[in-house]
Symmetry: C2
Subunit: 302 residues, 2 copies
């Protein structure tokens, strides 16, 4: 039997992550056409549909879920191989970063060049699909949580400042938001890893009951943001991840509603690996850059 190509695997993973062919194409630096064909090729190979073509993008079928999972395992293995051999090669210093996809897309890609320009000798490697076990290979892991991980040194990175946003169209159509209670008139986009965000918000303002059918759960942050832009409903998103959209007016934050979240992004390094040399430079740079990107005035940039 024929095996899928590695780009096919990347396509599957990217589709799962971004939810649409076009978005996946951008993420992979391919055209929509190429992605569409790769997907079709894999589906032909296994004789099953992997994604149901739904209204606003692709939804994995049962087979798709299985395949996505294994594609990630395979890609993870290749990443692990690359990282471990790079360490063996040891020609130039290697910095291995484990970055959650959303951070990679929305924060790192634009800014990392600032670091690599200063340190052209350093081989910066991204690890995205790695399993937990592969954490021992990396120098820095960016995590989402409350800042406590045994054996890891954690610094607040970004994302504490969570804001309520929606597309202008959405707000208009729903009659606008003049008071926080108006939120109840909209559909709410939920991210499974942070379902408590909404509860937290309502608690702050005094309570609000939203029936579950008025929420949409989207498996990736990227989808939540896209959904909000596309007018699916209101979202709660760390402000730093959408500075561009806020600046461009694609998303707006009515009444400045938001809160400080306990759950945010942290920069963590293994305790046993002291932050020195290149690693130290990187941590200092990343934390400074993150702080800068959270300052309101620094937020306006393409």
């Amino acid at each position: 039997m024929h095996l899928p190509s590695t780009t096919a695997l990347r396509v599957i993973a990217a589709l799962a992550q971004h939810g649409t062919v076009s978005a996946a194409a951008v993420a992979l630096s391919l055209t929509q056409s190429a992605v569409s064909k790769q997907l079709k090729a894999v589906e032909a190979l296994i004789g099953l549909t992997l994604f149901n073509r739904a209204r606003h993008g692709l939804v994995p079928t049962e087979a798709g879920i299985v395949y996505i999972e294994q594609a990630r395992v395979a890609l993870g293995a290749l990443e692990t191989a690359a990282v471990r051999t790079a360490r063996l090669r040891g020609s130039r210093p290697v910095l291995r970063l484990h970055v959650l996809p959303i951070l990679g897309d929305r924060w790192f890609m634009q800014r990392l060049i600032g670091f690599t320009d200063q340190h052209p000798d350093v081989d910066v490697q991204f690890v995205t699909y790695a399993s937990r076990e592969a954490h021992r290979d990396v120098d820095v892991v960016f995590r989402f949580g409350e800042g406590q991980w045994p054996g890891w040194n954690a610094d607040y990175f970004l994302g504490r400042d969570v804001v309520l946003v929606g597309a202008p169209m959405t707000l208009d159509r729903g009659g606008g938001i003049a008071d926080w209670r108006d939120i109840a008139r909209f559909r709410l986009l939920v991210h499974p890893q942070t379902p408590l965000h909404w509860d937290r918000l309502f608690a702050q303002y005094g309570g609000l009951d939203i029936p579950p059918e008025q929420t949409i759960t989207l498996s990736y942050y990227a989808l939540v943001i896209r959904g909000a832009i596309g007018g699916q409903g209101l979202a709660l998103v760390p402000r730093t991840l959408i500075t561009r959209e806020l600046a461009a007016g694609e998303l707006v934050n009515p009444l400045g509603i938001g809160f400080e979240s306990q759950n945010c992004y942290w920069l963590t390094t293994p305790n046993e690996r002291p932050r020195e040399g290149v690693l130290k430079h990187f941590c200092v740079w990343a934390l400074a850059e993150a702080a800068r990107s959270e300052m309101p005035q620094g937020a306006v940039s393409s």
Copy 2:
């Protein structure tokens, strides 16, 4: 960064298994040229040598060991994906076999057609690189051992009959074997999973001390057999695996020396999966075919 192609991964895995470019090429149904190029491509990709070109084949470097391991993980994931989706497809009955490479190469490939001819509707799938965890996906696992696996139903398959063999050239050069004690004059090829075979043989005949430096340990059975054919020394091999070589005179079994091993190949099925329908047919067929292949008269075949 570019990723290796999936054929490159298969090449790496096959090289690790067969130890030479040419043998790997045969196993993959490619030319030696193609395999050589793929290997070179991967080495260029990661900037390291994966195999040291040694006297009789390729020996993995440190980087090679890492890479081989991850290539197997990646291929295993793809196999798992294929198997699990095939089950979902469910168009025609699927039979998933986990087969050790040596059995696949030396026994199944030639005989399986006898089964598929009788059951053209059945989708027979091989699983080779699968992790232990993936065992739950398979219908039949061929294992090497003593026949006891909790939760598994085991039938003796083949390989009990272990014989001492060497290339005719080897035997001539070493002065022939007129008595079992003459074994001490030869180098012995050892397979790490069955190091006790030699002890077992010597015990049977009354003891013999072989200094360790007179042995060569080869990591795969395929290499042991190849080594014996190539004149590296004497080997202890299940007779069924080398019927062709014995018939062709490439290997000879002086004096008929050999013994019944406790460690041999077993056909096992999970207890919770009753042997019925296609599964039953396959087990019956495989066991009968194995028995037939172990009969001396049945042994002569190309």
